[in-house]
Amino acid sequence: MVTALVTMVAAMFTLIPPLAMRFFLDHVLTNKEWRLILVTVAIIGIVPMVNATFTVINRFLIASLGQRLVVDLRIGLYRHVLNLSMRFHGETGAGPLMSKLMTDVGQVQALITGEALSIFSNVAMLLFGLGLAFWLRWELALVIIVILVLYSFNYYLFARRIRSANLELREIMDQVTGRLQERLAGVRLVKTYCRERDETAAFLASTDRALQFGLRGQMLSVSLNATARFIGGIGSTVVYCWAAWFVLHDTITYGTMYAMDTYFWYAVTPAVNLTMVAGAITQAFVSLDRILDVMRHRPDVVEQPGAADLPEDVRGELRLEGVHFAYGPDKPLFAGLDLHLPAGKMTALVGHTGCGKTTVTSLLLRLWDVQGGRVTLDGHDVRALTVRSLRRHTGVVPQEPVVFEGTVFENIAYADPDATLEQAEDAARAAQIHDFIMTLPDGYQTWLGKEGAKLSVGQKQRIAIARAILRKPAVLILDEATSSLDSESEAALQAAMRTVLRDRTSVVVAHRLSTIVEADQIVAMDAGRVIEIGTHDELMEIEGGFYRRLYEELKGKHAGEVEA
């Protein structure tokens, strides 16, 4: 409110200098009232200073308002998105979307603090300028109105064509960007087939097309601008000469003529500005729409009122009882799934891709909520627990390990910011990564690039394992955690993990036989159902059983030809 008021007052103040000048011209230059020299010159000198002061105050108010807004919006958006459930994040991740959204927030802020307020000042300028022109000489003010009408006509004549040229340009540029991105990411393939020259030719062809549209769009804008300036120029000439005519007939003074000339531009310039504001507003509304779209999503994993913390001595007994779950309306996965994961034991989940192994682990972690039935930890429904305490006692190593930009230590200690270096080292030793870390230039303080650019997948996996075991969770979930390791490293890791996993409930999703065979309990799953449960030996007894067939398959993959 205050800001808008200041804007209005500032706009009003800019109208003073022409009046001061008019007074000076009429009284000093024409009527030679010498005693007024100092006063008028002082006014002419001081008013711009006052104006500048207003501008400065105004800018400060707008900026602080805008920054407060943008900070709040960004934080709100970020918090909201982090709390949104996995359903929103999907498989590909919403990271790139978020980065775009942050830019959108900037756009909206620019709209609210820049454009929206400039509408105020522009409209104020236009109305005041026009009003003063009418007060000075209504015939001349009418010329201004005619010019404004011509202006808007001219604008609508060009606007559509400019927009369509720009749209086409954007489409082509999208294609160019997409193709370039793909080719850069797949540069090895390009090189493998020696297609560098063709790629450049194709790129240039589309760039050339983009440039032509760009040129057309720009020249249309230039033409719009030129015609607008021409209309304005002719208008001001009419006002100027007509006013001179009045001066000669002694109906107005030269001072009025001078002021008219200035007010002409005061009224016309805001009109041009407003058309530009219109474009910016459309742009900002697109951004606002995208932001609101995300804000409308409600997290579906919500902490219930009165949710309790888990008691400290978690045994780690997990149960799925009559669980119903679907990723989408047409993708039912579980219909009444029952599963018991005994405390302190290792359970292996096996089955073909898409049978629901990873989903079981996500439900245990409450990354998703079940749609029917319940999941319990030590007999507590996970929905009745605080999300914090649930996740405090569970650790997970995902299929695709995540390494953040930061030091090795920060990455391992991500699980527990209070962890000491010794604790991190212990975890790293257990994950068989300590020796490697010690070969890095700064050891645990080595800075890992974006997404851990300096590490191999196997190394990232071991960092992720170290992170998961740092907290000594009661339940540890390993989802294909070692798939990218070579056999020797994996064997070493498994030996180490055996100690870590002792007396801990663990859930392992794996394709590797050595891991599966050791499990206390094997759960064979197919298409969202549990087919068989038992130890390796028990399951192998079942003639023609599902697990037995699966086992043969896996064995064939690993070592079939060893036997041969």
Binding site: L25, L29, T30, I37, V41, I46, A52, V56, F60, A63, Q67, Y78, V81, L82, H89, G95, S99, M102, G178, Q181, E182, L184, A185, G186, L189, V190, K191, T192, Y193, C194, L211, L215, R229, G233, V238, Y240, A244, W245, L248, Y258, H352, T353, L367, R388, R391, G395, P398, F404, Y414, K450, A453, S456, S484, E488, S489, H511, S514, K557, H558, V562
Partner: protein, 622 residues
């Protein structure tokens, strides 16, 4: 450059500025880059540039001409302060009409000229952008893979598209406006000096003061701008990284801490923005102070001269108007300096790429080879990745006769993939030589070499386009029959026929998504199209689930027959089915023999064998 995470909650402002300071600036190089921009890109367009400059010189005088016409109107037509005799009235009214036509004509002329000017400037901008993108793209394609290992794709993309766009926007303003603004100031000063020397001197004192203020405050604004931009990028990158990994954040229950860290960065950014506003405010106040004082003094003295009948009323107003026009260009002149800075930052990024060492080019006497038997040998090859101290491969020597299959084994980081890359000649060895049919790879034309040797990567790359386009990627002119044959060989033909549009089905990011096995087969089909003599498979099947892997492997076994093949693998089963096994450890060959001979030896191969057969031993016992 990535800013480290701030450690304390409330950083001091200068600490924030320091954190995001551009630490890569090199003034000397900036100069060279600008010169190069002129020499290579602008000089060919010099006549258009000259035309634009000439027009802008004329238009820069426009306000002074207006001021002059106005003065003549005041003194000769309106005769301010004097009385026009009734007899002369008609003549004066006719003069008004004349002024109308002069002014209108002048407007028309100016607008036509500025249209021509805009066209030239736009054209120059577009042309330079085109040339720059061309050079960049050609260069990027010719860069060695080591460059891509070091540089993120996103950054390259930004340079080729956005940075070049920035150049387009500012190049013309930088080149033309400088001349225009300088001329404008000179003309203004001349006008005032001619009318009244004393006032001319006043302006010559005021303008430097004015410019001085700008020169003092501008660097702060520039610094703040750069810091703000970098802080923004850092913030966005962080958001992208974290939100992509939201699963990890949730699993460890770190949402609150993440929001707190984000809040801190967002606040720092906001404080930077406010710092910028404060600096701009200072500038506004001081600059306005100087210009208002100067103009006020000018008006006061010119009125005194008018009182002494040294000046006409028209001249007083002309002086007042002209003085006002001079401050604008003075400001813009310092703006241009900022523009130059911006352009040189962008130029630095562009020329960094253009100047990066390109991939080795063919020697002039490099041979064209139509076919190859497929004998492959490494002779004492040592290779280190650029920027690495320790070599990845050290003195590697071995020879593989044509048609043999070699399983390459070893722990991760031993140099297995590097071995394949050297064979593809993605890199050249630092010492020793790689040969194909006893010919140094460097003596073979790259195009022919990569036609005979082909690589299938661990994660196959599929481009947006039709299935046929993807298969044909290496040989655009391959006939349909050959494409089908390749697809059949890769066991993909049947599947393709089930697709809605068969071979013309669009796949990739904008089309149908394919499963891992299908992608792998599509990549295989593309590599089979040229019927290569040497096939390199980089751990091609490990990312697949067991079912798919079994199927792809069956296909592979059939394809590999009769070709020299290098297969990077972790699986003993694959190794046992090969003719030879090459074991790499720490960048050196530790074992190289037939798999059965290696089983007799102590070493990595037997250890791995024992581990993996332990699993099937379990089966035997059960």
């Amino acid at each position: 450059m990535t800013p480290r995470r701030p450690s304390t909650h409330q950083l001091r402002l200068d600490a924030i500025l320091e954190q995001y300071r551009d630490k890569e600036a090199r003034p000397q190089a900036e100069r060279e880059h600008l010169e190069r921009l002129w020499r290579d890109y602008l000089y060919p367009l010099r006549w258009r540039l000259l035309l634009a400059i000439l027009i802008s010189l004329f238009t820069s005088m426009q306000p002074y001409i207006w001021a002059y016409i106005n003065r003549r109107v005041i003194d000769d037509v309106l005769m301010l302060g004097a009385v026009i005799p009734p007899s002369a009235m008609d003549a004066h009214l006719r003069l008004v009409i004349l002024v109308f036509f002069i002014n209108s004509g002048f407007h028309l002329l100016i607008i036509l000229l500025s249209w021509v000017y805009s066209f030239q400037i736009t054209y120059i901008g577009q042309r330079v952008v085109f040339e720059l993108r061309k050079v960049l793209h050609e260069k990027v394609q010719r860069l060695p893979l080591s460059f891509f290992d070091r540089t993120q794709t996103g950054r390259l993309l930004t340079v080729v598209l956005d940075d070049v766009g920035t150049i387009q926007a500012s190049i013309s303003t930088v080149a033309v406006n400088f001349v225009q603004q300088a001329a404008s100031i000179l003309v203004g000063a001349a006008v005032i000096l001619v009318i009244n020397a004393k006032l001319g001197v006043l302006m010559l004192v005021a303008l430097p003061c004015y410019v001085f203020i700008f020169r003092r405050i501008r660097p702060h604004i520039k610094e703040g701008n750069i810091a703000a931009r970098r802080a923004t990028t850092a913030l966005y990158n962080r958001v992208e990284e974290r939100v992509t990994a939201v699963r990890t954040i949730k699993v460890f229950g770190r949402e609150l801490a993440e929001v707190r860290a984000f809040t801190e960065s967002a606040h720092n950014l906001a404080r930077l923005m406010m710092y910028l506003v404060r600096q701009q405010n200072w500038l506004t106040i001081l600059a306005n102070g100087v210009s208002a004082t100067a103009i006020g003094l000018l008006l006061y003295w010119s009125v005194q001269d008018f009182r002494a009948a040294l000046l006409t009323p028209g001249q007083v107003i002309q002086l007042y108007a002209s003085a006002g026009f001079m401050f604008g260009p003075a400001v813009q002149l310092s703006d241009i300096l900022a523009d130059v800075q911006r352009v040189s930052v962008v130029l630095r990024r562009i020329f960094d790429i253009v100047e990066a060492d390109p991939e080795p080019v063919d020697r002039p006497d490099a041979a064209a080879i139509a076919d190859a038997r497929g004998d492959v040998a490494f002779h004492g090859v040592t290779f280190a990745y650029p920027g690495d101290e320790a070599p990845t491969l050290t003195d590697v020597s071995f020879a593989v006769p044509a048609g043999k299959q070699v399983a390459v084994m070893g722990p991760s980081g031993a140099g297995k993939s590097t071995l394949l890359y050297l064979l593809m000649r993605f890199y050249d060895p630092d010492a020793g030589a790689v040969t194909l049919d006893d010919r140094d790879l460097r003596d073979i034309q790259l195009l022919h070499l990569r036609d005979r040797i082909t690589l299938v990567m661990q994660e196959p790359v599929i481009f947006s386009g039709t299935v046929a386009e993807n298969i044909r990627y290496g040989h655009l002119d391959a006939p349909d029959a050959q494409v089908r044959e390749a697809a059949r060989n890769a066991d993909l033909h049947e599947f393709i026929l089930t697709l809605p549009d068969g071979y013309e089905t669009v796949v990739g990011e904008r089309g149908m998504s394919l499963s891992g096995g299908q992608r792998q087969r599509l990549a295989l089909a593309a590599s089979l199209l040229s019927r290569p003599s040497v096939l390199l498979l980089d751990d091609t099947t490990s990312a697949l689930d067991p079912e798919t892997e079994a199927r792809v492997r069956k296909t592979l076994n059939r394809i590999m027959a009769g070709k020299t093949c290098f297969v990077v693998t972790h699986r003993v089963s694959t190794a046992l089915a090969s003719d030879l096994v090459l074991v790499l450890e720490d960048g050196g060959v530790t074992q190289f023999d037939t798999p059965h001979a290696l089983l007799e030896q102590d070493g990595l191969f037997r250890r791995v064998y024992e581990q993996q057969t332990h699993e099937s031993a379990d089966l035997a016992s059960s």
